[in-house]
Amino acid sequence: MEQKTVVLGVIGSDVHAVGNRILDYAFTQAGFKVINIGVLATQEEFIHSAIETNAEALLVSSLYGHGEMDCRGLREKCQETGIGKIIMYVGGNLVVGKQDFESVKERFLAMGFDRVYPPGTLPDTPIEDLRKDLGMTID
């Protein structure tokens, strides 16, 4: 099976690095090629890396609470740079405070993310989802 590439990073002024390390490990173990741009990643870095590596998906983490402000406009920037259809997942502790996840999810879906994950998500679920979204069959 050909290896699919994903760009992984923690957006904004966010330095939470532990989940990033684990996602890197887990997606790599699952057979993906992971381009890990690490913490403190800008929207531009996500997009440049995706274009450069011909990636199929952006895996955006935001833990520190500013996710709403940091993620705004990412889909539009993708469109402007010609990768408008790229799959975009986002996860972590997306907003400030303990908020009802359904409403958080809606806000991020409205921003153009394909899937939105609640706090504490284990890697298995997004890996499963990504295989499905990329039409990879698992036998």
Partner: protein, 484 residues
Amino acid sequence: MDLTVRQMDAEEFQRQRQEVLGQWQTGKDVFFEEAVAYQKSLPKSKVFAEKLAEGKEKGITYAQPRAGVALISEHIELLRFLQDEGGADFLPSTIDSYTRQNRYTEAQAGIEESAMIGRSMLNGFPAVNHGVAACRQVVESVQVPVQVRHGTPDARLLAEITIAGGFTDYEGGGISYNIPYSKDVSIESTIKYWQYVDRLIGLYEEQGVKINREPFGPLTGTLVPPAISHAVAVIEGILAVAQGVRSLTLGYGQCGNLLQDVAALHTLPVLAEEYLAKLGLPKVMITTVFHQWMGGFPQDEAKAFGVISWGAVTAALGKASKVIVKTPHEALGIPTKEANAAGIRTTKQILTMLKDQSLPMTSELALEEEMILAETRAILDRVLELGEGDAAVGTVRAFQAGVIDVPFAPSRYNAGKILPARDTTGAVRLLDFGNIPFDERVKEFHRERIAKRGRDEDRDPSFQMVIDDIYAIGKGMLVGRPRG
């Protein structure tokens, strides 16, 4: 300016000062003499160092929350609530992440958006944007000392404004607020930024104003072995005292094994005093701060109360001077003030119940202490060796060489070669030593302990074990056992 541990010269300080105070418009309201006078006008009950000294004498463990929101009035309301409903002994002002990265324009946007939509869009209090007068308003609105808590590599302007603003304690350091909090900032530059901060506080001290300094002990908060955070704490203590700081609170983040954590609390001031003396630096007041578990928390609030309590128990039995309190919302997001106050009350109930109890010395505890002492000395001695006696220079070289190496740190100035894992009793050991300069006896001890766990779990120690340990407390365990 060449890097050195020695006191900054006055000219260089003044040169930087001009620059720093110009970084954002609120810098122009800082006047040193006026600020000294203001600080001196504060009652003793609002001065960190005074209250810490009192607690140290009486054997009290104080409780302090983390908290900060975007707008002044909400921030004051929050702090008052934590004081009155939580019973906080010390108050914080936790700074937002834009300010921490010196992005004051974005912080300003966050303030405005917060004001508009009526809830804090920032994860902390943007003290620089609010300025000196606003900080004083905060300090005057509460009855206990207030500290700046942040995670800012270049915290010079923040220090100028908040200390002039009446805060009497300042968290952080050139290593502890770099390595866990940035990616591309060199250690050399952050050490210099923080020497400025420490020198500033030295100047206040020379005027008779007591400002306490607190290196950030827990680093990445995730399976950091005591010797590594102790080495960093001692170095930051040295750097601070060399600039004139006279009151230090050294920090340590809970690992979870009682004996190891108590041993860590016992050894931290011992090591600091030892190395300060060794380097001919003056004796200063040293207190300790214990951080309740800084890694991933369980989402369930009842379980979170269990984790909080275990931290409180350890702080009390280890006789920390202060404990930084987590909240039942930890895994989910910045806590509401109610959740934050609840965390404090749970903690204080335990602290007061355990006030007159301590963990008696045993051979097991003595062994943990011995190991932490030997390990930390091994690192520190190599640092001084690398620096040819200069702790600042040695630190930069030690990070280059991986002699100090912080697990899971985002900084590219950190080697990132070591791998920590719990042993079978939950104590944090090293599975991969990277270039940490432990001698064979120490290494054998770590290997043997981790091997025992491997046997208990019938698997070879590996990165999977580390991952299991990272998730463990969140899943209700301490040691990340494989599902059986």
